[in-house]
């Protein structure tokens, strides 16, 4: 029964990891940018939420209504300026630039906020509570909510990409941006939209993480980015639903690791990550690329 509980808890935390990972996966899939600042941006989302809540007194749960558009706007702006500038100089340059961005964000947060941990306290018993199934399985409403949000975000993204005009353009640009230009598409604008979506999802993830746990300026690089990477690699690079599979596998591995020994929680996750990388480098959900 304990194991069943571990698996269920793992699946639920996997939703949060998927939320972290899908933006990373989208930016890589569309513009081949490995955004090393992705984790820090989630933390920025958390801090922006703190600020928004302090100023406007919106309930924590609803802060995303303001935070997500702010972060999406920031994403569009950063893509059109800094990241596009790096892309124009070559894909490798984006690694250096986003790494630099990560360092700048982390240090700016240390400078202007402080090194203390913060969380987005949810004073709402519906969210903080849990219910149990049997004697062993406890389901936290908050984790259930985050999981539901993750699935909704992925479904929404899937629908947007497959059925909307802009989604189609994003896929076309990802396939061949020169050919897209010949159809009148300004690929830089489309990249901006993709980045806006990625930043929006990572802001959601940051808020979710802030409600679930605590964050500090360094959380972005030492936890979130790694989890996001692991989820993306396990699930398969560039696959949207792969991020959920990857997140869930990572979550379950961590829970089972913690069950064996509390200190093995993170290690177990990374062992699975490495095993997948060796055995099935294309990830669980994507087929091996055809040459």
């Amino acid at each position: 029964m304990e194991w069943v509980n571990d698996v269920i808890q793992g699946i639920l935390t996997g939703g949060l990891y998927a939320l972290f990972a899908c933006g990373l996966s989208l930016m890589f899939g569309v513009m081949k940018v490995v955004n090393l600042a992705h984790g820090d941006l989630a933390v920025v989302g958390g801090y922006v939420a703190l600020g928004v809540i302090a100023i406007t007194h919106v309930p924590v749960l609803w802060s995303f209504v303001i935070v997500v558009p702010i972060m999406a706007g920031l994403g569009y702006l950063l893509q059109r300026t800094l990241i596009q500038g790096a892309l124009d100089r070559g894909v490798l340059t984006t690694l250096i630039v986003t790494f630099g961005l990560s360092v700048v964000i982390e240090n700016a947060l240390l400078q202007f906020v402080n090194a203390n941990s913060h969380s987005l306290g949810v004073g709402n018993s519906i969210v903080t509570g849990s219910f149990s199934i049997g004697s062993q399985i406890q389901l936290a409403y908050l984790l259930l909510l985050i999981f539901a949000v993750a699935v909704a975000v992925l479904l929404g993204l899937q629908y947007f990409l497959s059925s909307s005009r802009y989604g189609r353009m994003i896929r076309a640009v990802a396939d061949d941006k020169e050919a897209a230009q010949l159809s009148g598409i300004n690929y830089r604008h489309v990249f901006g939209i993709a980045a806006a979506i990625a930043f929006g999802t990572v802001a959601l993830a940051g808020i979710g993480y802030g409600m679930y746990s605590q964050f500090s300026p360094s959380t972005g690089t030492d936890t979130i980015l790694l989890f996001a990477f692991a989820a993306v690699v396990i699930g398969g690079l560039g696959s949207l639903w792969g991020t959920l599979v990857g997140g869930v596998v990572l979550g379950i591995a961590q829970q089972i690791g913690a069950q064996i020994n509390q200190s093995d929680q993170l290690l177990a996750g990374y062992v699975v990550f490495l095993v997948i990388l060796v055995v099935r480098p294309q990830g669980l959900t994507t087929r091996r690329a055809q040459s």
């Binding site: 189609r168 353009m169 061949d176 050919a179 230009q181 010949l182 159809s183 598409i185 300004n186």
Partner: protein, 262 residues
């Protein structure tokens, strides 16, 4: 054929293009008139594709200018040029591989101008396409892919359609089938500038031919005004061995432009 109107729809003036250090095109000029099929011929590496890519804006010239309807578009981005009416079927087709046939056409129509072409009409032009519209383009044969690439360019309702090596990698019978569509396309008022390695194919469809050799113009004129030997000389850069000296002087000067009713 009637005399072309006096204003060219597309004009290239004194275009020089470099690929890094390498000079790909050297002082190329050409004028394409409405309704024309203007064919660029030449061997591999003659600079034909570079010329089309520069006209569509994917390459930036070192010198010279590109004019659409007399307006200089040399500094205009490729996507803006497409919206202004320069359409292109790029070399190697360059379809969106993860998109279906229909989605490829929809992307082509994203910023379509007003005009006679729409997706249904492309389906009428290529009878097989409608039934297979939900297939991924990677599942299509080369000729079918080329047809989708043409359709994708047509649905944008370009004023000038640039066709880059339609015959590349296709069986001759398929090539002929695709070129047989050209009259139906021209009937809708399009102007075509095409690049073709297959000279006989180009001569069959073109109202004007222009031969490039190592980035320079070696021959220009109407197909009826040039004979096979002249074309051969211009294409391969042969000297007087195959072309009579008197003809050759005319050939290489590129002065045939003046013989057109412009």
């Amino acid at each position: 054929m009637s005399e072309p109107p006096s204003e060219p729809i597309l004009e290239v003036r004194d275009l020089t293009v470099h690929h890094g250090q390498l000079q790909a095109l050297e002082h190329i000029s050409l004028r394409v008139f409405p309704g024309e099929v203007y064919a660029m011929i030449g061997a591999n590496g003659a600079g034909k594709s570079t010329l089309l890519r520069t006209i569509s804006g994917l390459h930036t010239p070192t010198e010279g200018s590109v004019l659409l309807d007399g307006k200089d578009v040399t500094k205009v981005r490729p996507d803006r040029r497409a919206i202004l009416g320069i359409g292109m079927v790029p070399e190697g087709r360059r379809l969106f591989g993860s998109l279906s046939v229909e989605e490829n056409l929809q992307v082509g129509a994203s910023y379509a101008r007003k005009g006679p072409w729409h997706i249904e009409r492309v389906y009428e032009l290529f009878g097989w396409m409608k039934d297979r519209r939900s297939q991924k383009t990677s599942q299509l044969s080369g000729g079918e892919q080329q047809s989708v690439a043409i359709g994708r360019a047509l649905v944008a309702n370009p004023r000038v359609l640039l066709l880059d090596e339609l015959s590349l990698g296709l069986a001759p019978v398929i090539v002929q089938r695709i070129y047989a569509m050209l009259p139906q396309i021209l009937d809708t008022g399009l102007t075509v500038l095409l690049v073709e390695q297959d000279v006989s194919q180009a001569l069959r469809v073109a109202s004007h031919i222009h031969c490039l050799l190592e980035g320079r113009t070696t021959l220009e004129g109407r197909p009826s005004d040039v004979d096979a030997r002249q074309v051969e000389a211009a294409y391969f850069g042969l000297s007087g061995a195959t072309a009579a000296p008197a003809e050759e002087a005319q050939l290489w000067s590129g002065s045939t432009t003046s013989s057109r009713g412009s």
